[in-house]
């Protein structure tokens, strides 16, 4: 059992963007991701997941700091203006 310091990037955004965001993340070099369905409220209003409102998704990507930085930069430029989007990073210990 070895542990390895890594960065966890959490992306919360609109469910309608799921396929698009996965393509972006994979393009930028992420080796994996984990998605859960979510709902929430932010500056773009409430997204309760009803069909006329859409829900959110919560994407976790584990990678090195550079990868996470690249993803943050790309998503901010392309989606922050028009879509609900929130991102944060946490240092973690990957167990492997």
């Amino acid at each position: 059992m070895t542990t390895q310091p890594m960065t966890l990037l959490v992306i919360i955004s609109e469910a309608v963007l799921e396929d698009t965001l996965i393509d972006e993340i994979t393009d930028l070099g992420a080796k994996g991701y984990t998605i859960t369905d979510a709902r929430g409220r932010g500056t773009h209003g409430t997204r309760a997941g009803r069909w006329t409102q859409g829900g959110n998704i919560r994407i976790e990507v584990i990678g090195n700091a550079q990868l996470c930085g690249r993803i943050v930069e790309r998503l901010q430029r392309a989606y922050e203006k028009d879509y609900g989007l929130l991102m944060y990073t946490v240092p973690i210990e990957l167990q492997n």
Binding site: V16, G45, G49, R50, W51, T52, Q53, G55, D82, Y83
Partner: protein
């Protein structure tokens, strides 16, 4: 005035929403209900379509599409100039009103069935066809001179989005199988149709309740627009249906198609293609105002209009 009990479920849903009841239709269920409605409507249309000579339908179809395309083209300048809305919002709302609503259409069919009025089965084809020019026009209006359009992505979204795919797929299956082949599916797709429409209306009421509350924020202009546009579009449809020699039922359905505004296919497509438009405005107007107006007042009025113009001819 003609009254369809199925709309009472919409009222129940609105009531539950307004009193903040904990009643919720799980999302998996309303997705299933909408898949069911789209497939069932498509199958019904396909079975009826099999009775027609397809070539004979070509010219009326092109006319119905051409006149239908006028609706977003006329709505756009009104929204832009009278409503002082942004280019993106005007284009997106215009696209919603150029598109059609499957549930509104279903309530109209239920009323015709109750009144025992027949109609040309191929009207259902226009549920599929009218969507496409409306969304394309919406995007062109939004992008005219500003920015570029990812047409590939948009067309993919429109043509292979679940609404069109299920309607068109149902049409093809119904057409191929014919009324004989489809018989063992009748109970599910035809006999249960209205009950499932009732459940869907319950959910629509729940959602509309939230939208109705929000409408005040959008101001008097949008509310007026959401009531006047369907009436004018319906007049266009009634005149064209009569000119094309459609039956009483067919005329009324064409008016309903023109009058209805989309709140399933159009929002999804516009969110991708015109993301800077505020979806609350277009969905609020289409679902919070135009949809209830159509099912409670519009549809009976459109039937009356069709009767009136057919009476003139007689």
């Amino acid at each position: 005035m003609h009254f369809e009990p199925v709309v009472l479920f919409f009222l129940l849903g609105v009531f539950a929403g307004l009193v903040r009841s904990d009643l919720k239709i799980p999302s998996a269920i309303y997705e299933a209900l909408s898949i069911f409605l789209l497939l069932a409507i498509g199958l019904q249309g396909g079975v009826k379509l099999a009775e027609f000579e397809l070539l004979e339908l070509l010219v009326p179809s092109l006319l119905i599409l051409a006149v239908g395309s006028l609706i977003p083209l006329l709505a756009f300048p009104v929204l832009r100039l009278l409503g002082h809305m942004t280019r993106a919002d005007s284009a997106s709302i215009a696209a919603h009103y150029g598109s059609v609503s499957v549930v509104t259409f279903s309530v109209a069919i239920a009323l015709l069935a109750q009144e025992e009025i027949d109609f040309e089965g191929y009207m259902i084809v226009f549920l599929v066809l009218l969507e496409i020019p409306a969304l394309v026009i919406g995007v062109i209006l939004a992008r005219h001179g500003v920015g570029s359009v990812r047409w590939g992505k948009l067309l993919h979204e429109v043509l292979f989005g679940k609404s069109i795919l299920l309607l068109a797929g149902g049409l093809m299956i119904g057409f191929i199988a014919g009324s004989e082949g489809i018989k063992p599916l009748d109970i599910l797709f035809f006999d249960l149709f209205k009950g499932i429409l009732a459940l869907f209306l319950l959910e629509m009421g729940l959602v509309a309740a939230g939208r109705i509350a929000g409408l005040r924020a959008y101001g008097a202009f949008l509310v007026t627009f959401a009531v006047v546009t369907p009436l004018l579009s319906a007049i266009l449809g009634t005149l064209l249906g009569w000119a094309l020699g459609l039956s009483l039922g067919g005329t009324m359905l064409l008016a309903t198609l023109y009058a209805s505004a989309s709140y399933i296919a159009a929002p999804a497509a516009m969110r991708i293609a015109v993301p800077e438009a505020n979806p609350a405005l277009s969905i609020g107007a289409a679902l919070g105002m135009t949809f209830p107006f159509n099912i409670f007042i519009g549809i009976p009025v459109y039937l009356w209009m069709a009767r009136f113009i057919h009476g003139l001819g007689a």
